[in-house]
């Protein structure tokens, strides 16, 4: 399947179809499957870097602005941070954990 297109000009926001909670320093994300029973869910968690990005996904801040903010906080080249951010967003979009809001 083709990776979802991520644009630095877009804003992103957590989907209504997930529940998240910080547990032991990581953000744990559970998709709402709406099913009955005890089948395994596709649990997803975000480490420290992912958590920093997650907290900035407010639907109003563009990805470009998020990269800029992270450059101020983390000691890494901008192109590396940009790659990490777009990579994570591709995965979050593919899993329908976030939705796009064009700026």
């Amino acid at each position: 399947m083709e990776a979802p297109k991520v644009s630095l000009n877009n804003c992103y926001i957590p989907s209504h179809d997930i529940v998240s909670r910080e547990i032991d320093g990581e953000i744990v994300i559970v998709p709402l499957t709406g099913g009955v029973g005890d089948l395994a869910d596709d649990l997803f968690s975000l480490n420290v870097t992912g958590k920093a990005i997650w907290h900035l996904l407010d639907g109003e801040t563009t990805l470009e602005q998020i990269v800029t903010q992270l450059c101020d906080r983390f000691d890494a080249p901008r192109d590396v941070i940009e790659r990490d951010v777009t990579g994570l967003l591709e995965e979050l979009l593919a899993r329908r954990i976030v939705t796009t809001r064009p700026a």
């Binding site: 909670r21 744990v28 709402l32 005890d38």
Partner: protein
């Protein structure tokens, strides 16, 4: 002497008053449920009423369908949750209303168009449905608890749960340990946080052990079982790993955002306070010595 029309059962400190328009005989419900009968009407009481005939007093809901998997369709409509046995054997939707619950599951009405199942007896669920686990899992989420797909035992007044997939050997493990304590269940265990103490409780759901206990005990360890040629317990220090192992084993009733938020908070507290182990065990039964030292 009049015919018995109601019994009270207790599970995880919740009392369930079961009433019926039909006589409830000693063998109406399966033998496995009998130890859960009680005379103690706790303050946390819910009522399940069985009716004969069709649900003529209730209107089939036209609102949000929250579950649709044959044979069931489940709707939430304002104050009620309604269960419809939606499909005929040929797959046609027939929408026969079988149960109506209040949103908090405190009051339920079950309808029996035919009394045959009731009269045959040996029913394995108080709701007379396939299982009571969805009801109890829903109740527990409002009470700092959840239902865990696991075996559980009370050993030396301490609670142990044995967690694993369906073929991991949960039943074998509890049967091996039976002589040392009480089997709470070999397939579903209720977990509750009562005033800061994590406790486990027996249930009658699923499993193959014919005798299970309604007892409870403070939870001493979460044991993720592995079949092995030796007996040892390896402490899991990474809480994310515990979470990844635990969450898929939690019974999820109509798992909406509210249920998940409450359950994640309960699980978060649990894994902070109760140690988790990979429990490797052979078939000798010597794993009891490992557990004694936890």
């Amino acid at each position: 002497m009049g015919q018995k029309k109601e019994y009270v059962f207790s599970i995880a400190d919740i009392a369930i008053l079961v009433g019926s328009e039909m006589t409830i005989k000693d063998d109406t419900f399966a033998l496995k449920l009998r130890p859960f009968r009680t005379d103690n009407l706790s303050t946390d009481l819910l009522c399940v009423m069985h009716h004969t005939g069709y649900a003529t007093d209730f209107i089939l809901p036209q609102t949000q369908c929250v579950y649709d998997m044959p044979p069931w369709k489940i709707y939430r409509n304002g104050d009620n949750i309604t269960y419809c046995e939606g499909y005929s054997p040929t797959g046609d939707y027939i929408g026969l209303l079988k149960a109506v619950w209040s949103n908090d599951y405190r009051n339920g009405h079950i309808f029996h168009p035919s009394p045959k199942k009731w009269l045959n007896g040996n029913i394995e669920a108080l709701t007379a449905m396939t299982t009571d686990q969805i009801l109890v899992a829903s109740l527990l989420s409002d009470r700092n608890g959840f239902l865990l797909h696991s075996g559980g035992m009370k050993l030396w007044d301490k609670g142990f749960v044995f967690i694993g997939a369906s073929d991991a050997g949960k039943s074998t493990t509890v049967e091996m340990l039976q002589q040392h304590g009480e089997i709470l269940c070999d397939d579903r265990i209720a977990v509750r946080n009562i005033d800061g103490e994590q406790r486990i409780y027996g249930t009658w759901f699923h499993g193959t052990c014919p005798q299970v206990s309604p007892a409870s005990a403070p939870l001493r360890a979460l044991c993720f079982i592995e079949q092995s040629d030796r007996n040892e317990a390896i402490l899991i220090t990474d809480r994310q790993e515990i979470l990844r192992r635990l969450l898929p084993r939690i019974v999820k009733p109509l798992a909406d955002a509210e249920w998940w938020a409450k359950t994640l908070a309960t699980v978060d507290e649990l894994i902070r306070t109760v140690p988790a182990y990979v429990l490797r065990r052979d078939l000798s039964g010597k794993v009891v010595d490992v557990l004694r030292n936890l």
